[in-house]
């Protein structure tokens, strides 16, 4: 067993990474050690990255550090520093908050991600003034360039030990001998080559936030803040001609936890009261209350996705034509509280197998007005299916369909005829009248070769109950003992 990570105090006692646990125990008998938990570390890092979004939406994981067994985050604070009193204010605030959460951090602000990485790990300066990064990293060792250790060793063997050494050498021979990666890292650190950070979370189209000197934890205060934030969103949405389709609230708790509440709307929305109400419903629908802990010190409202907002011509007659709109608003409210997956609409699929002939999709995901005949999500929407050649008014399909056909015990006159008697859910029924069979073949392209044909019968029992039964498998050809199933109830 070896030491993977250790803190400052352990280092001061002479311990180091990769030391065996036995050696470490000999040096420091009172050592407090825990088994390494890389997955837990990564989860924590992701949580921390989420928390760092209070400073900028562009937070990225440091892949190079992860490969080397340590952890780091990149933040692109372009255009964000002035909100916290400039770069110095931001760095001080970030460091103070992270220390308060119990992390020991090293941070550096520089013109390029590469230079910031080098200075944070190998340098002393915390904020490099603009343009000073090249001079600052020159004296640093080559490991500051995010290179593989083997490459650093190879360069050291030929006497190249600092960044400055390489920067002054001719480029072509370097690339020929040590690979293009070396020059790429050098150029990235010096700002000759741009380096894109890929943010963890999709960047919101718009966001508005409020910071509190004193953390808020009361439910009314939070809803008040949400209402105010929503009101602040309306003007920018109007200017861009957009309406909110998906939004989220992020609640930054004092102790570093970040709560998130998302809403989805059926049509682009630009009404602050409605937006705030949807979030209210979302909060009310939580199983446990918002865990406010010691309170939230930052609440942010993001517009994750927005769609062009079609202006509505107000009707002269009050109330007329508002029906459709009301309906969509209702779907949004229900979806916000119960979860969008619990508010569904039918979509039809092109198949004859009854239980596959339709699907149910969240109503909020369908396009606005989709209920009136537009296609969505690759499935044709319910255009009323009419069997060809069937006179209108003849009913062949039940109102209630069982998701899973239920097995029956039946007595039939002949093996391929309708049943005379059957037993379903513990009750016997005598068939008085029947119609059928309606044969629905299996879908061999989905179910494979062994799939069986279904013969559907519409039967009425002696008391007037009307059922939809089917025999699974053709007698004599597909099976010797066909099974019967109950599949639906007629009105």
């Amino acid at each position: 067993m070896r030491i993977v990570a250790l803190d400052e105090r352990a280092r001061a006692r002479g311990l180091r990474r990769d030391q065996t646990l036995g050696d470490a125990r000999a040096l420091a008998p009172d050592l407090d050690c825990r088994p390494a938990d890389p997955e837990g570390d990564r989860a924590l890092l992701l949580k921390l990255a989420g928390w760092c979004e209070r400073y900028t939406p562009l937070v990225a994981l440091d892949a190079a550090a992860e490969a080397a067994g340590s952890h780091g985050l990149f933040m692109d604070i372009t255009g964000c520093a002035h909100l916290l009193g400039g770069e110095a204010g931001l760095v001080a605030d970030l460091e103070a908050r992270l220390c308060a959460q119990g992390f020991s951090v090293r941070l550096c602000l520089a013109d390029t991600p590469g230079a910031a990485w080098a200075m944070a790990r190998h340098g002393e300066a915390r904020i490099l003034p603009e343009g000073a990064h090249a001079a600052a990293i020159e004296p640093l060792g080559l490991s500051a360039l995010r290179l593989e250790p083997s490459l650093v060793t190879a360069l050291g063997r030929v006497g190249l030990k600092t960044v400055g050494c390489i920067a002054r050498l001719p480029r072509a021979p370097l690339a020929a001998r040590f690979g293009a990666r070396l020059l790429q890292r050098l150029d990235q650190a010096l700002g000759r080559e741009a380096e894109a950070l890929s943010p963890l979370m999709p960047v919101a189209e718009l966001s508005t936030e409020r910071r509190f000197a004193e953390p808020v934890s009361q439910h009314d205060e939070i809803s008040h803040v949400i209402a105010a934030l929503a009101a602040g969103l309306i003007e920018p949405l109007e200017r861009r001609g957009l309406g909110l389709r998906r939004g989220r609230i992020r609640l930054f708790r004092v102790d570093g936890h970040v709560g998130e509440l998302a809403i989805q709307t059926a049509r682009p929305l630009r009404d602050a009261r409605v937006i705030a109400r949807l979030f209210e419903e979302r909060i009310a629908g939580l199983h446990d209350d918002l865990d406010a802990g010691f309170g939230f010190d930052l609440i942010r409202l993001d517009v994750v996705h927005a769609d062009p907002f079609a202006g509505v011509q107000a009707d002269l007659v009050a109330g007329a034509g508002g029906g459709e709109h009301d309906h969509d608003a209702l779907i949004d409210r229900l979806g916000a509280r119960l979860g969008t997956g619990r508010v569904q609409r039918f979509v039809l699929a092109d198949t004859h197998i009854p239980e596959r002939s339709f699907g149910r999709l969240p109503a909020a995901r369908l396009q606005p007005g989709a209920g009136r005949g537009r296609a969505a999500a690759g499935l044709a929407l319910a255009a009323v299916p009419q069997d060809e050649g069937l006179p209108e008014g003849i009913v062949t399909r039940p109102l209630i369909l069982f998701e899973r056909p239920e097995p029956l015990q039946t007595i039939a006159e002949v093996p391929d005829g309708p049943p005379l008697k059957f037993r379903w859910r513990g009750v016997s029924y005598e068939v008085a009248r029947s119609e059928g069979p309606e044969r629905i073949a299996c879908e061999w392209w989905r179910d494979g070769r062994g799939a069986r044909t279904r013969d559907y019968f519409r039967v009425e029992d002696s008391q007037g109950y009307r059922f939809w039964l089917f025999r699974h498998g053709l007698y004599g050809r597909e099976t010797g003992e066909p099974a019967w199933y109950m599949h639906g109830l007629f009105a």
Binding site: A329, L330, P354, L401, R404, E430, F490
Partner: protein, 300 residues
């Protein structure tokens, strides 16, 4: 002089009080001008039923439909959906949507609405929004919200049995909201008992032997329902046989034809013949085979 003036003032005051009382009465009985429910009642199409209801069901109001047995759910759903179709058709300001809220207990049987069946029943499946909350509390909340939404034609709340939480307060809340918005609010109570509620009417729906099929003697004919109006706020109750006609989208009276079914004498047993509502007279004993239900159009 001063006396007569005082007299006049008193008269005016009395007149105002009377007017105020009348207004309050109207408002109380749901006939106030501000209520959307005061709009034209929703006729079922079957004349005798409509006559008994004095024109039809109150559109903005709560109505309960119960099916005594679990297997009657098909018939009850047929009746409820027929009402929903008619509510969407009645041309009440373009209201069309139907919200179907189901309590988890009502979903345990595994049966769900089938779009192809809905279409044949006369209801465009794309107009239906299914709401399936995780608990009864959520279902009641969703129903309240939907009853508030003036853009809906009908709201169906499907519950099972008689849950304590769906009590008279909950039904009254639903009733008041529906009256405000003009939504036809229907409670579909599956295998439930009679219970005090604020609903304007309560119906019991049983399935009934289907009509004759002209093409096929042994075939299943048009659906028929045995409909019992168990409770009616405005007073009269009754029992009818009706059939839903998906073409005209009306309920028609169905004559209980005395079909002889040699194999199944049970079809004519007494208790199947005459299900009474809260009527005074008990059903008379009938003969073995003869069917006297010629009074199918009669309201009690």
């Amino acid at each position: 002089m001063s006396l007569s003036r005082l007299q006049i003032a008193t008269d005016i005051l009395a007149a105002q009080t009377r007017a105020g009382e009348a207004r309050a009465c109207r408002a109380h009985s749901g006939m106030g001008a501000g209520d959307a429910g005061a709009a034209a009642p929703l006729a079922l199409g079957a004349t005798a039923v409509d006559r008994c209801l004095e024109g039809g069901l109150a559109c903005g109001g709560l109505h309960e439909v119960r099916s005594p047995l679990a297997r009657d759910i098909g018939a009850a759903a047929g009746f409820v959906l027929g009402l929903a179709v008619r509510a969407g058709q009645a041309g009440r300001g373009g209201r069309q949507g139907v919200v179907w809220v189901s309590d988890p207990a009502a979903r345990v049987d595994g049966g769900g609405l089938f779009p192809a069946g809905l279409a044949q029943h006369g209801l465009d499946p794309s107009l239906i929004t299914m709401v399936e909350p995780a608990d009864l509390q959520g279902a009641l909340w969703a129903a309240d919200e939907a009853a508030d939404c003036a853009g809906l034609a009908a709201l169906v709340l499907q519950i099972r049995g008689n849950p304590a939480r769906f009590d008279i307060t909950a039904t009254r809340r639903l009733m008041l909201r529906a009256r405000q918005s003009g939504v036809l609010a229907l409670v579909l109570r599956q295998s439930g008992e009679e219970e005090a509620s604020a609903a304007a009417t309560r119906w019991r729906v049983n399935t009934e032997i289907s009509g004759t099929d002209d093409l096929d003697q042994r075939g299943v004919g048009a659906m028929r329902l045995s409909l019992t109006l168990e409770r009616n706020r405005t007073g009269r109750t009754g029992h009818w046989f009706v059939a839903w006609n998906p073409q005209t989208r009306t309920f028609d009276h169905a004559a209980p034809t005395p079909v002889l079914r040699s194999v199944h004498p049970a079809a004519h047993s007494r208790h199947r013949l005459s299900a009474t509502g809260h009527r005074q007279d008990p059903p008379r004993t009938m003969g073995q085979v003869l069917d006297h239900r010629q009074d199918f159009g009669r309201a009690s």
